[in-house]
């Protein structure tokens, strides 16, 4: 072809690319479908994650409740210091606590351990409270004994507006419902809660430990003030007050951000796997498509087209296709934002808004482009194998994936960019890198498996039947597609099995009933002098009840080895909760049965006057604490130094009494304390909550079943997301398997045609395909199960922090199901190739 000037050349290629695309789009429909599904999922995850993060960032002050928050935790704030701050800012006091709320005037009254938020007249400093009916909020602030309840509480206890309820032993009037509050960052907005005026604090009897009291002072700066100066001023006021934690808007909702980050990291890693698997499918489909166009490519070459221009023609078609599909996928993903918003606002009090982000669109397009290019490089470069001379000899070999050193380098470079996009700023870099590492290790192992199968089958001579020989020949022939079939099938099946195992483990956790040995109730806030009376009342209700009572004391960690504990850990760490809020600790003479000592020794009885601490081993690991380190604790305002003497393995999921810190009883017995009790009733019906509350008004009773229901609800919602993404991956996996068959389609059709001419029966042709499938699938499924077990165990235990259990039944059932579905799919896709009509094929050549 005459060398054309560049502009003309590109115009020429563009016109041909558009024309070819218009004519061929039906032939590449599986590329369009897989690309759309995978880009849609990716777009949806990015869009929702971004919307949530944007919401959290833009409304950080509302979520925190001010420009700054002074958190005194269980203690009432230092009035002098707070007054100093109020001199140059606006301050609102908010106190949260948990206590029992009961219905009244019913045949059988019900009670619930409920979180109560008391607010003053200045609340909220930012944002607004939504409620009904009109005026209810103002009435709540002005009139004592009035409350607003949230929708969840209204449903749980079936409470209606204008009904009288009891909080502890005091009657309150429900004057309306609160829909949302702005400062959800430090407040559990899902579950059951109440909003009430500040005066309620004076009505109720509250104690720090049993009621999980929390004093927070929200601060709003004056408009004209420089925030940086004000912050420094406030910090200097509280610099000597060890009980205070100052929080800033950027720390607002850090827990929520972490949950969103973790979950979206999991989903985006699964979606990129789906995308990479889709990439294999795209490569297969494209190769099949180019094989179909073998003749037209040869003719174009004979007419004088450069091979490079023909390749550009195909690349351009893919880019045009990708651009259109990205727009459609991204716009479709925006449509699901209102659905998610509806769910989030009802569950978490968070609102997300639909917004178009060009950056997100570009990122999705770039990811699509990288995946498409990585997988189309070896396919489109196979065009070099087409020789115009084939036209003269009428020989058209089936094209194979083609790699040169330069192309391998390019692919690795693009793959690195892809990995960088997914790992950069991900919640946990190690997990992301580990995930990609595992993905490519799987890929390499499946490739090696294919080579091993080919090598072994070539080594052994089978003389039993022709059909078996044909099957083995198909697997072992030179330029066989066995490696690509095993890799795509292997990765697809591995991902399906992994997600299925994750799903079944989730389902098991959700369906898991309360363990038989687990207590029915936790009782918090039994005062020191009430222990005997408590035991007596419980036994009077059910003489066969089993209960365990342990002392409990508040013990915040002030310093570790003399320095701020925050220097030991970041808020993102799993164990931050140990210093993030007030810590409760206990003491015991013997090692608790279910808390094995991992390192160190139990109490040194020769040092009764020294505080010795037994620490949760995971906490010790996360904080990098060594035996002999010193914790400075705040126990009832007194600073006490304690030495870490041993580490215990604590499993908080066994629903028994567990503490991160245990003290030596010789030292701790003289500390003023309360009691915590767990009770397992022989006959639960004999226990009367209402009577218990009449006797112990400030006692907090947590029913384990209610608590587990709340956990189950959350898990159910996560499970739905896992199921949705699994289904999408299954669909993509099946399309990939079909595409792998399509690659062989033309060759198989031709081969089966010759077999038929030679006298093979249809049964023999089908049987040889089945044997081939069985050899490949059985070896793939073994390795896939192995990877799926490891992968799902890691995800369940490390990302979702749930317990994982292998399930042989599920694995066998799933393995057989996947095998059956794949086989049916292969037969359906292959049916026209299995029994070709000889005459039309021969006439059309």
């Amino acid at each position: 072809m005459e060398k054309l000037n560049k502009f003309y050349q590109y115009k020429f290629i563009l016109i041909y690319a558009l024309r070819d695309l218009k004519r061929n789009y039906k032939k590449i429909s599986s590329i369009i479908i897989t690309l759309f599904i995978s880009l849609f999922i990716l777009s949806a995850i990015f869009t929702i994650e971004d919307s949530l993060k944007k919401e959290l960032k833009e409304n950080a002050k509302e979520l925190l409740g001010g420009d700054l928050e002074i958190d005194y935790n269980r203690n009432q704030g230092n009035i002098d210091l707070l007054n100093k701050v109020e001199e140059f800012t606006i301050m609102s006091e908010m106190v949260e606590f948990s206590t029992m709320l009961s219905t009244t005037n019913r045949k059988k009254n019900k009670s619930l351990f409920t979180r109560i938020k008391t607010v003053d007249q200045k609340y909220p400093l930012y944002g607004e409270v939504t409620y009904e009916p009109a005026g209810a909020y103002e009435r709540m602030q002005n009139e004592p004994y009035t409350i607003l309840i949230n929708e969840s509480l209204s449903k749980t206890l079936n409470i209606k507006t204008n009904e009288i309820v009891k909080i502890q032993d005091q009657e309150f009037l429900v004057i309306g419902k609160v829909r949302s509050v702005p400062d959800v960052s430090g407040f559990v907005t899902f579950g059951d809660w109440v909003l009430t005026g500040k005066q309620t604090l004076d009505i109720l009897k509250l104690n720090g430990i049993g009621n999980f009291l929390n004093y927070e002072y929200k601060v709003k700066f004056n408009n004209n003030d420089d925030p940086e100066i004000i912050i420094k001023k406030i910090e200097s006021i509280f610099k000597d007050d060890q009980k205070v934690k100052i929080r800033y808007p950027e720390n607002a909702a850090s827990g929520l951000k972490r949950v969103i980050g973790n979950f979206s990291q999991f989903l985006s890693l699964v979606s990129i796997s789906a995308m990479l698997i889709a990439g294999i499918g795209i490569a297969n489909t494209l190769l099949s498509f180019i094989n179909q166009n073998n003749l037209s490519i040869a003719v174009r070459k004979a007419l004088g087209f450069y091979s490079g221009n023909i390749k550009k023609l195909y690349y351009l078609q893919l880019v045009i296709l990708l651009f259109i599909i990205t727009i459609l996928a991204y716009l479709s993903s925006l449509l699901i934002v209102p659905l998610v918003d509806k769910y989030l606002s009802s569950s978490f009090g968070l609102k997300i808004n639909l917004f178009f982000s060009f950056f997100n669109f570009f990122k999705i397009f770039l990811i699509g482009l990288l995946v498409l290019t990585i997988f189309s490089i070896p396919t489109i470069n196979s065009i070099d194998q087409v020789k115009a001379s084939s036209l003269f000899r009428n020989i058209f070999q089936n094209l194979q994936f083609y790699y040169s050193k330069k192309l391998i380098f390019m692919s690795i470079f693009m793959l690195s960019i892809l990995i960088l996009i997914f790992t950069y700023r991900s919640e946990n870099l190690t997990y992301s890198l580990g995930y990609f590492g595992a993905f490519f290790i799987c890929l390499i192992i499946f490739f090696l498996l294919s080579k091993l199968i080919i090598f072994s089958l070539k080594k052994f001579r089978f003389n039993s039947s022709t059909t078996l020989k044909v099957s083995i020949k198909n697997i072992t022939q030179s330029k066989s597609i066995t490696p690509i079939t095993i890799m795509s099938l292997g990765l697809g099946v591995t991902l399906l099995l992994t997600l299925a195992l994750v799903g079944t483990n989730f389902k098991r956790e959700i369906a898991k009933s309360i363990p038989d040995i687990a207590p029915d109730y936790f009782f918090v806030g039994i005062q020191n002098g009430e222990r005997g009376k408590f035991e007596q009342i419980i036994l009077s209700m059910d003489s066969d009840a089993n209960f365990e009572i342990v002392p409990m004391v508040s013990s915040g960690i002030l310093r570790i080895n003399g320095i701020n504990p925050n220097t030991y850990i970041t808020p993102e760490n799993d164990s931050y909760w140990v210093i993030g809020s007030e810590r409760r600790s206990s003491w015991t003479k013997e090692v608790p049965e279910d808390n094995l000592i991992i390192d160190g020794k139990w109490w040194d009885l020769s040092k009764p006057n020294q505080l010795q601490i037994s620490l949760d081993a995971k906490v010790a690991k996360d904080f990098n604490i060594k035996l002999g380190d010193i914790f400075t604790l705040n126990i009832y305002g007194r600073e006490v130094d304690g030495e870490i003497v041993n580490f215990r393995k604590v499993d908080y999921r066994d629903l028994n009494i567990n503490f991160a810190m245990l003290f030596n009883p010789d030292f701790a017995k003289n500390i003023p304390h309360e009691y915590l009790a767990t009770t397992k009733f022989y006959n639960l019906n004999k226990f009367d909550e209402t009577k218990m509350l009449e006797i112990f008004p400030s006692l907090s009773m947590i029913k384990i079943a209610d608590y587990l229901n709340k956990v189950t609800n959350v898990l159910n919602k996560v499970f739905i997301a896992v199921i949705v993404i699994s289904t999408v991956t299954i669909v993509i996996g099946l399309i990939v398997i079909s595409s792998a068959i399509m690659v062989q389609g033309k060759v198989r059709e031709y081969q089966n045609l010759v077999f038929k001419i030679l006298g093979f029966s249809r049964k023999e042709i089908i049987f040889s395909s089945l044997i081939e499938f069985m050899i490949i699938f059985i070896s793939v499924i073994m390795i896939a199960i192995f990877f799926a077990v490891i992968g799902s165990k890691f995800i369940i235990e490390n990302i979702f922090e749930l317990s994982w259990k292998s399930n042989l039944e599920v694995l066998i059932y799933l393995g057989l199901s996947i095998g059956f579905v794949t086989l049916v799919l292969i037969l359906l896709t292959n049916i026209k190739y299995l029994n070709p009509k000889v005459y039309p094929l021969i006439r059309n050549q």
Binding site: T466, Y750, V754, I757, L758, G759, V838
Partner: protein, 221 residues
């Protein structure tokens, strides 16, 4: 000579869109064992269609075909395959070798399919006879047109079939290769007392047959 093949009132029609095309019209033909027949005619006259019907690769729209006194038109596809596998060898203009099988494997396959003893040894000796000893392990794409056709003929005659059907066996070959192929075919038919029905445009090849049939517009003239 006893009858090998009998075609009675054979019609073949095709539906293409709304059009109904009549490819073969009321064909009656009887052939004897050891007979060599050439079928000639213009392109599109129905020569290849006739070969396909005789080989059991296609069913007629109406009429009956008897092969060795057995009516093959009422047999199932698998039963026809069984007859073809043992008794009919087919040679095409485009060779139809399996592209990813070597020359040896292409010939061995049919012998294995018929559970022949030492199929590989037999295939080797056959290819040796056709001057392809040095090409045993080459793929079809590595062979010349003449070599490919020799492999295809070796495959077709490997089972010593009663009948050989050849569709333009020299159509893709030069004069030298055409002569070689034609010699091989006729020598085999003579040596093994087989029958040959061959479609060809080559008058020289057509004249070597003991009987010449001309087809025009789907009818035997």
């Amino acid at each position: 000579m006893s009858t090998l093949l009998k075609l009675k009132k054979i019609n073949l029609k095709y539906q293409t869109g709304k059009d109904n095309i009549s490819v073969l019209k009321d064909i009656n033909l009887t052939t004897k064992k050891k007979e060599t027949i050439s079928i000639v005619g213009e392109s599109g006259s129905g020569k290849t269609s006739l070969i396909m019907l005789i080989g059991g690769l296609e069913r007629p729209t109406s009429g009956k075909i008897y092969f060795l006194d057995k009516e093959i038109t009422k047999l199932s596809e698998d039963e026809v395959s069984k007859i073809r596998k043992k008794n009919i060898g087919i040679i095409f203009q485009s060779f139809y070798l399996i592209p990813n099988y070597t020359a040896l494997e292409n010939v061995t396959l049919i012998l294995e399919l018929n559970k022949f003893k030492n199929p590989e040894k037999e295939a080797k000796s056959l290819l040796d006879r056709f001057g392809l000893k040095h090409r045993l392990n080459n793929l079809p794409s590595q062979l010349s047109g003449g070599e490919q056709q020799r492999v295809a003929i070796a495959r077709a005659i490997a089972m010593k079939p009663e009948l050989i059907l050849a569709d333009e066996p020299t159509g893709n070959l030069d004069t030298e290769n055409s002569d070689m192929i034609s010699k091989i075919l006729f020598r085999y038919v003579k040596e093994e007392s087989s029958s040959l029905i061959m479609v060809t445009h080559d008058p020289k090849l057509a004249n070597r047959a003991s009987r010449k049939i001309k087809i025009k517009d789907g009818k035997i003239k």
